[in-house]
């Protein structure tokens, strides 16, 4: 017997014919239920009360304990220093009082240097993440992973055109703490698609390798704005991708399926990385404040989203800001919103409530176009 088939028009007509299902509760009954629930909820203790009191209790205990622990540790250091002095005296050094003063001042200066260099390191760390995305399109897209191959980190090599792929991989590992997926394959961007060519004898070794290769290809295609991904061997045959079988085409990254959060690599570099997410743009933007597995919030808690609304190609985001710890924190938060908006198909973001309305990076009183590049890095 022939299987019945449907076209889009028929399906639409069938759905339109679905009947109206009426609410059987009366208007008065509904209102009474709502009123009752609203009154009940007014009397309820807010959900945050218990955790808040618990947190305050922990802080109070810490305040009481830390000074005494600190004092006892200081005592240990002092007694250790005393022992060293004693040892040096026992060794028969004829240090006079002036010499002692010199050695004390040398010790102090060494400590100062250590502290200064630590502060400098932190400052350099902050400056290194200056812009995490860019509207310029002249870069070389690449995709790496954290050392556990769990987090995908799309980056853009700026001015890396003359550097060999293998060297970039090495630099990514040494300097940025990121690893490249295993496997040799080449990319050829075409007008609307990305073609990936594998060696004839290619076989993905294990599902982890296969997944990292697929993610590499998908995020490269996303960077190239490709609508289709074709994969083939040098002979033009389907590629053996382990559990996926013989494959000629891969899905592209779906719109509205990722948000961008902060990730710190093994070398302490910070990147904005895509994290899978299912939900509306309102939920996606609010999720930027959450610490998820392996990644951290890209928008600080001191910022509240009052309204997030998409209109055609523009996303409106109204915020209430309490304070930003640093200009870097602010830029990172804005960039994560822009990248998330881009993932949801928006072309620009109009922010409201950011003060001052302009800084060295953005003019917040005008719509900001979503970035073309992500995580620009230098070889």
């Amino acid at each position: 017997m022939k299987r019945k088939s449907y076209d889009d028009n028929q399906i639409q007509k069938l759905v339109e014919k679905l009947p109206s299902i009426e609410d059987k509760q009366s208007k008065e009954q509904l209102y009474q239920n709502i009123e009752k629930r609203m009154n009940d909820s007014r009397g309820e203790k807010p959900h945050w009360v218990v955790p808040a009191f618990a947190s305050i209790a922990v802080i109070v205990v810490m305040i009481m304990i830390i000074p005494s622990v600190w004092n006892s540790m200081n005592g240990q250091f002092q007694s250790l220093g005393g022992t060293e002095e004693l040892e040096s005296t026992q060794e028969g050094s004829s240090a006079d009082s002036e010499g002692e003063n010199q050695s004390a001042s040398l010790e102090d200066s060494a400590k100062d240097k250590a502290i200064t260099s630590e502060v400098e390191k932190q400052q350099i760390g902050e400056e290194a993440v200056d812009r995490m995305s860019s509207s310029k399109s002249d870069g070389r897209a690449a995709v790496y992973f954290d050392t556990q191959a769990q987090i995908v980190v799309p980056v853009t090599w700026m001015s890396g055109d003359n550097v060999a792929e293998a060297d970039l991989k090495e630099i990514a590992k040494e300097k940025y703490g990121l690893i490249a997926p295993t496997g040799e394959y080449s990319f050829s961007p075409e007008e609307d698609s990305l073609v990936v060519e594998f060696p004839n004898e290619f076989r993905a070794e294990g599902s982890a390798t296969e997944n990292s290769i697929v993610q590499d290809i998908q995020w490269r295609a996303y960077a190239e704005d490709a609508r289709e991904i074709f994969v083939r061997t040098q002979d033009g045959n389907a590629v053996n991708l382990g559990n996926r079988g013989q494959v000629t085409q891969l899905d592209t990254i779906q719109e509205a399926s990722y948000i961008y959060q902060l990730f710190t690599s093994a070398t302490g570099e910070r990147f904005l990385v895509p994290v899978p997410f299912e939900g509306s743009i309102q939920e996606a933007v609010r999720e930027l404040k959450e610490n998820l597995g392996g990644t951290s919030a890209s928008v600080p808690d001191s910022i509240s989203f009052i309204e997030v609304e998409g209109q055609s190609e523009r996303l409106y985001v109204r915020v209430e800001e309490d304070s930003w710890k640093s200009p870097q924190e602010k830029v990172t938060a804005i960039e994560s919103i822009l990248l998330t908006a881009k993932q949801y198909g928006f072309e620009e973001v109009q922010l409201e409530g950011i003060t001052p309305t302009e800084d060295s990076v953005f003019a917040y009183d005008k719509p900001i176009p979503v970035p073309e590049l992500i995580n620009p890095i230098q070889p």
């Binding site: 299902i21 509904l30 629930r37 009052i306 055609s312």
Partner: protein, 180 residues
């Protein structure tokens, strides 16, 4: 103070709102509870409504969030149960089955199949189908309710139609095999 506002919303949108929710959750009692949540959230957040979108799309976007929150809670519950009993993949197949509303139960097999096929769509796909074809909303209104771009609505609609088509044809084939 809330009553006149409730009256106005009820007269203008209640049946459509209920319709959207019941087609999403497919359970009358649950839909009655969720529609109450929608009104409560609406009353609490009316101050933030600035008229940039229409009152209708604003109300429906609240309804969407309420239903998504419900699905999330259900998923978390289901996951906890699955973890506890270690049902693995089979647990995913266990779905809540609610009796079909009588308005649907009296329809012919094909229409009942369409109603069932909506279950095979993702939450986003069902939302688009219900808003576009049952609520007769435009692409732009649907985009406002869902917080999508218009192109995202079109893509989701296309994928939803594909999912419905596949499911209807599968159901049809299943029916034929059973009859044979």
């Amino acid at each position: 103070m809330v009553k006149p506002f409730f009256d106005e919303l009820y007269e203008k949108y209640h049946q459509d709102l209920f319709q959207y929710i019941i087609y999403m959750v497919k359970d009358r009692n649950l839909a009655e509870d969720l529609v109450q949540d929608v009104y409560i959230k609406t009353f609490k957040s009316y101050d933030t409504f600035d008229g940039r979108s229409s009152e209708k799309t604003w109300l429906f976007s609240i309804a969407r969030h309420v239903t998504i929150d419900y699905f999330r809670k259900q998923n978390r519950k289901r996951k906890r149960v699955m973890d506890f009993f270690d049902w693995g993949e089979k647990g995913e197949e266990i779905k809540d089955k609610s009796p079909m509303p009588e308005e649907i139960a009296v329809l012919n097999d094909e229409m009942q199949a369409v109603y069932r096929a909506l279950d095979e769509c993702t939450v986003d796909q069902s939302s688009v189908i219900i808003l576009r074809f049952i609520q007769n909303m435009s692409i732009q209104e649907t985009a406002e309710v869902l917080g999508f771009s218009e192109s995202k609505v079109k893509t989701t609609q296309h994928r939803a139609m594909k999912a419905l088509k596949k499911n209807l044809e599968d159901q049809d084939e299943g029916g034929v095999q059973r009859e044979a």
